[in-house]
């Protein structure tokens, strides 16, 4: 069960069935803050030959509980997620952090072999969006234009837990007009860290202001990244400083859907000018 990109449209007569059924785990932050990221993910997955479904019973990946020591709570949330997603060919999330958490689910069920088996089966078919497009679906280019100088922040969980580094850069390299200026210290944490950013706001604030300084030094117009937690934090800091750098999820640019205001930007007046 590992259909490559070349299976797209194969099998005349049962064409639709040859397309892998991909369930989108949209993540809490994209759901609440940035539906455009979910729509961009759907568009990219469909272009990669997938049938996309969105289980309505999905909620959270459980990281708030997991990372604050409430392992029983995390397991409760995880069961909800497993039940919603285990019947699909793939589970894909536009986040290395939440996707990485789904991959970690088996750890929550050390004393429940039945659930651990289910968690493992789901973890094995769970991917972060961009790496799924490139590594599993063999996507090598996108049909999008974005004539801007951009820089890219490597979110820690995607980078270190899932090995996501050159995949987004490879696809960004095929966006017409896009110029990528590498960010110094792009692998250093932005200071978000889930509840860390509100438990230790002063330390978190220092880390994100260092990140903002590095971004400004690239003279990029736009910052891209693959995780909304980090992007909200960075956009919040850039906004506070009053700078001009706009912030988007990388999927929005790759799908050609970055035509809405960036994170934290003023909303376009209704009806236009």
């Amino acid at each position: 069960m590992n259909p490559g990109a070349d299976s797209v449209g194969a099998g005349a007569g049962s064409g639709a069935d040859a397309r892998p059924r991909v369930a989108l785990f949209v993540t809490c932050l994209a759901n609440i803050y940035r539906p455009n990221v979910g729509l961009a993910a759907v568009a990219l997955l469909e272009r990669a030959g997938c049938t996309v479904e969105v289980p309505l019973t999905q909620t959270c990946c459980g990281q708030p509980s997991y990372n604050n020591g409430d392992l029983d709570g995390a397991a409760k949330t995880a069961r909800q997620t497993i039940e919603a997603f285990e019947d699909f060919d793939y589970v894909v999330a536009p986040s290395g952090s939440c996707g990485g958490m789904l991959r970690d689910f088996p750890r929550l069920f050390a004393s429940e072999p039945g659930w651990q088996q289910r968690a493992r089966a789901m973890a094995e078919k769970t991917y972060e969006l961009i790496s799924f497009l490139t590594d599993i679906r063999g996507m090598t280019s996108v049909d999008a234009a974005y004539p801007h100088r951009v820089t890219y922040h490597d979110s820690c969980h995607g980078l270190r837990a899932l090995g996501i580094k050159e995949q987004p850069r490879r696809l960004l390299g095929t966006v017409r007009g896009l110029e990528l200026a590498e960010l110094a210290d792009s692998e250093i944490c932005c200071g978000f860290g889930g509840t860390f950013c509100v438990k230790y706001p002063e330390i978190s604030g220092r880390m994100v202001s260092d990140k903002a300084a590095a971004i400004n030094a690239t003279e990029a117009e736009v910052l891209l990244g693959g995780d909304l937690g980090c992007l909200l934090n960075i956009a919040g800091r850039l906004g506070r400083e009053g700078g001009r750098v706009r912030v988007y999820h990388v999927a929005e640019v790759l799908a050609g859907m970055a035509d809405v205001p960036g994170l934290g930007d003023p909303r376009q007046p209704k009806g236009g000018s």
Binding site: V26, C28, P35, D70, K199, L232, R240, D265
Partner: protein, 475 residues
């Protein structure tokens, strides 16, 4: 040392506001990481060396009793004496007794983190001995009456100007009255002062980077050669070491040495690597007359038996703190005890209790950089998360956080209510933010804004609402 970890939050804020400290931290920030990356890049077998190191350490820990006995036997055969200290108090008492029995007055010390851990200096000074640290960094913080802020560069928090002042104040009594400005001059002056101490010392105390079981040998690495003078000139040499320092063979020690220098300072090897085995033998031209090893448990056997066993692989290289963005922002003193940074955030709560040090495992973004560079692959973020779990089970954390988590779990297991709730939240926040598209402040969310940042507003609709509408349109 009396732990101050309970005050981590306040101490970290002071650290962020301390301009001199920030100058020192910024100067040190990238140096070690860049040097390490260069050294690692130049050694193709680095990753396989890490695997071997993990195997060596795991094997030794699984058979720790066996290798400790072998080591102790070898020390005794070479004419040395082994002392077993189960607690910090035992260790202090044993060291003081050895010094008293030898009729010592003056004691020189090489850098030893376990010495800091059990508080050797304080105990010796209380017993009336003059104790002089001979590692330049340790010497500086001894003059400043401060604990180390880093496990391999103890005075990394000090600026050149501060060190010049310290020397100026403390070296007057040796007739050295000129205020110095350049680093080489300061190093020379410290050497001059320390040289007389080496010659006058009755006892030399060093730590150990490794203890070799097959030969009873203790290994230390230094860059200043101070360790050699500390262990060979006085008539008594005392080695203080945690029991996890033992490795089976010299071959094993050399594997670990290849990782240690590269991970710590980016050096292939430190300038000096010193092997000592027993006291002076008849016919030897130099060396101590007495050779003592104090093997310190102080909680290590407890770690051996629980989920924190992997922490005992630690070879104290400091790479985790050199790559930790939290450590980089606040320095080591904020952590409030002997060991700072990621490894310290695991060790400190185990040593002084979660009630005292509960902030340490929480003050981490779980970004994983420390585990990525750890030469013995200790899963530091996992261990920190395990400590958070223990804290949660002991009900030590803040109550509102507990309630919040319980509410969130309930919410996430009721998808219809979750969909409705998030829909209301997204709509309300977007309305409140209006055209600005972001918040500069918000009641009950002050902590976010205390980080000096705005909060971007949602687009307005949840993804689920958009999707459901789209599906209906299709149907």
């Amino acid at each position: 040392m009396e732990p101050l970890s309970h005050a981590f939050k306040e101490r970290s804020v002071w650290a962020l506001q301390d301009e001199t400290l920030q100058v020192a931290l910024n100067r040190a920030k990238d140096g070690f990481a860049v040097k390490r990356a260069k050294a690692v890049g130049a050694l193709p077998e680095f990753e396989s060396l890490r695997d071997r190191a993990v195997d060596i350490k795991n094997h030794t820990l699984e058979n720790l009793d066996h290798y400790l006995e072998r080591y102790a036997d070898a020390v005794e055969r070479s004419g040395g004496k082994v002392h077993w200290a189960s607690s910090a108090e035992d260790a202090r008492r044993i060291v003081v007794e050895i010094c008293q029995a030898s009729g010592a007055r003056m004691i020189t010390k090489g850098k030893s983190m376990v010495g800091e851990e059990v508080g050797v200096n304080g105990a010796l000074e209380e017993a009336g001995f003059e104790v002089v640290e001979t590692d330049l960094g340790e010497y500086i913080i001894q003059l400043a009456h401060e604990p180390p802020s880093h496990i391999i560069v103890p005075a990394v928090h000090k600026t050149r100007g501060q060190i010049a002042d310290l020397f100026h104040q403390n070296h007057q009594k040796y007739g050295l009255t000129r205020k110095l400005a350049e680093v080489p001059e300061m190093v020379n002056e410290a050497r001059q002062v320390l040289r007389d101490k080496y010659l006058a010392a009755d006892v030399g105390i060093t730590g150990a980077n490794f203890l070799i079981a097959e030969s009873g040998t203790s290994v230390i690495v230094t860059n200043e050669g101070n360790g050699d003078l500390t262990c060979s000139l006085p008539k008594v040499h005392i080695v203080t070491a945690g029991i996890e320092k033992v490795v089976p063979t010299a071959e094993d020690a050399s594997t670990l040495l290849r990782l240690l220098g590269r991970s710590a300072t980016g050096q292939d090897m430190t300038t000096y690597t010193t092997f000592t085995t027993g006291p002076k033998r008849s016919g030897d031209t130099d060396g101590p007359e007495e050779y003592h090893v104090v093997l310190i448990d102080n909680g290590r056997t407890t770690m051996l038996g629980d989920q924190f066993r992997e922490m005992l692989r630690c070879i104290r290289c400091g790479a985790c703190m050199n790559h930790c963005p939290v450590y980089g922002a606040i320095g080591g003193h904020a952590y409030g005890w002997v060991y700072p940074g990621p490894m310290g955030s695991v060790l400190t709560p185990l040593a002084v209790g979660l009630k005292e040090a509960g902030n340490l495992p929480n003050a981490c973004t779980l970004n994983g950089h420390c585990a990525e560079v750890c030469p013995v692959r200790i899963p530091l973020p996992d261990l920190l998360r395990t400590l958070r779990h223990r804290e949660y089970q002991l009900r030590l954390g803040l109550k509102p956080m507990r309630w919040g988590l319980a509410a969130w779990v309930w919410f996430t297991t009721h998808p219809r209510i979750y969909r409705m709730g998030t829909r209301v939240q997204a709509r309300m926040l977007a309305l409140l933010a209006g055209r600005k598209g972001r918040f500069r402040r918000m009641p009950l969310a002050g902590s976010w804004f205390r980080g000096g940042r705005d909060l971007p507003a949602p687009q307005g609709e949840t993804f689920m609402a958009v999707w459901q509408r789209r599906q209906r349109g299709k149907g």
